[in-house]
């Protein structure tokens, strides 16, 4: 598996937010300021990486041997929910300053489509463990990139005198569409 190709394809060619539509709620919801976006982005990178690792192991050593593939959805989401809850408690106790900056985003991540999305995608693409972890890392970096770009632009959008009805989210969505159009240019660059 050519990791450089994976890096480019995961971040640019089929960016998880702009091309695969995953992780939209936090993408539109929490991208008002750069600080919030960066906090959300790093928390997502952290959680997606760990979640993909654990769910991959769970699938390979528990679900596949008993061929319980159909339980994938419920098993994965339970693992992710428990993981997020554990990480929140862990951060609160061990690294309080980090908890104050990332803490409020952690519960939001459980309902983030990207986390479960990546975990399931990795199974459908049948990657091995190393590739899955790398894919998870690169995809979540793509998420962080898209989130930072979006929040940077949205901060400027606040000062645009858009018509009253279009202010806020509608303009942000249209701008996200244009950004996704820009990312479309990467298509076909790499298989």
């Amino acid at each position: 598996m050519n990791y450089a190709a994976l890096f480019v394809s995961a971040i640019f060619v089929n960016n998880i937010v702009l091309a695969q539509y995953l992780g939209q709620c936090p993408y539109v919801g929490c991208s008002k300021e750069k600080g919030v976006a960066f906090g959300m982005g790093t928390a997502v990178v952290f959680v997606i990486f760990m979640a993909t690792g654990i769910t991959w192991l769970f699938q390979t050593y528990v679900l596949n041997p008993f061929n319980l593939g159909y339980l994938q959805t419920i098993a994965f989401i339970l693992v992710i929910a428990a993981l997020v809850q554990f990480v929140e408690m862990f951060l609160k106790k061990v690294i309080p300053p980090l908890y104050r900056s990332l803490g409020i985003f952690l519960p939001l991540i459980t309902t983030n489509c990207a986390v479960l999305g990546v975990a399931v995608l990795v199974q459908r693409k049948e990657y091995d463990l190393i590739t899955s972890l790398l894919y998870a890392l690169f995809t979540s970096l793509g998420f962080l990139l898209a989130l930072m770009l979006m929040s940077g632009i949205r901060e400027r959008l606040e000062t645009v005198r858009a018509p009253r009805a279009m202010r806020g989210t509608p303009t942000a969505l249209i701008m996200a569409g244009i950004m996704s159009l820009a990312f479309l240019a990467f298509k076909g660059m790499i298989e």
Binding site: Y70, L71, L78, K125, E126, G188, E191
Partner: protein, 196 residues
């Protein structure tokens, strides 16, 4: 302390109950799902290979055990005026993103391929997916068994340029089918010679 115990008990009971409900539902729907998968994935592939068919190959399919292979192989018979005209088997290959499944049509009389057609694949659109185009699949039509390999392996088929991994998957699938076919050829002829 009671709170923690209650917590553990409640969550475990909920998960156990859901496991029970889901497994029963799975048992009930498993045959239905298999049927659906066959009709929406394998059948279109078979129809692409064989233009006209008297019978419904999916309905008349039969499973054959292969000595030394734990997975039974499903064979789809194609009848023409009451006699076995051809058979179709499914082969799997490791593609770029996940398994590629190819339906291979074989003429038992002339021991030659009738054609191949991809049943299920997630190759990258525009690149890997070009293995589904007639330009590539028609080369297999009428090819003898030993020719049905890439030119590099001494066969007569040239791979899809720029999609080596995906083409490799097709060759892997075809050779797998031919191996299975070789093992159960006699049983196939026996089952359908009786013209049932």
């Amino acid at each position: 302390m009671g709170e923690l115990v209650k917590m553990v008990v409640v969550l475990s009971v909920i998960c156990g109950a859901s496991g029970f409900v889901l497994s029963n539902l799975k048992e009930y729907t498993a045959p239905l799902i298999e049927m659906q998968v066959l009709t929406y994935e394998q059948k279109p592939a078979i129809e692409r290979i064989f233009a006209e068919m008297e019978n419904d190959p999916v309905a008349d399919r039969r499973r054959f055990e292969i000595p030394g292979r734990d997975m039974p192989v499903t064979v789809f018979p194609i009848m023409k005026n009451g006699k076995l005209a051809a058979v179709a088997l499914e082969g799997f290959g490791q593609g770029y993103s996940g398994d590629v499944s190819i339906m291979v049509g074989i003429d038992p009389q002339r021991d030659a391929l009738i054609g191949i057609s991809p049943a299920k694949m997630q190759e990258t659109p525009g690149i890997g997916s070009r293995i589904a185009e007639p330009k590539f699949t028609d080369q297999f039509a009428g090819a003898r068994f030993q020719d049905a390999r890439s030119k590099a392996d001494g066969g007569k088929i040239d791979a899809v340029s720029g999609a080596t991994v995906s083409s490799g998957a097709v060759f892997q699938a075809v050779s797998g089918v031919l191996a299975n076919y070789g093992a159960i050829k006699s049983d196939i002829l026996k089952t359908w010679k009786s013209g049932d």
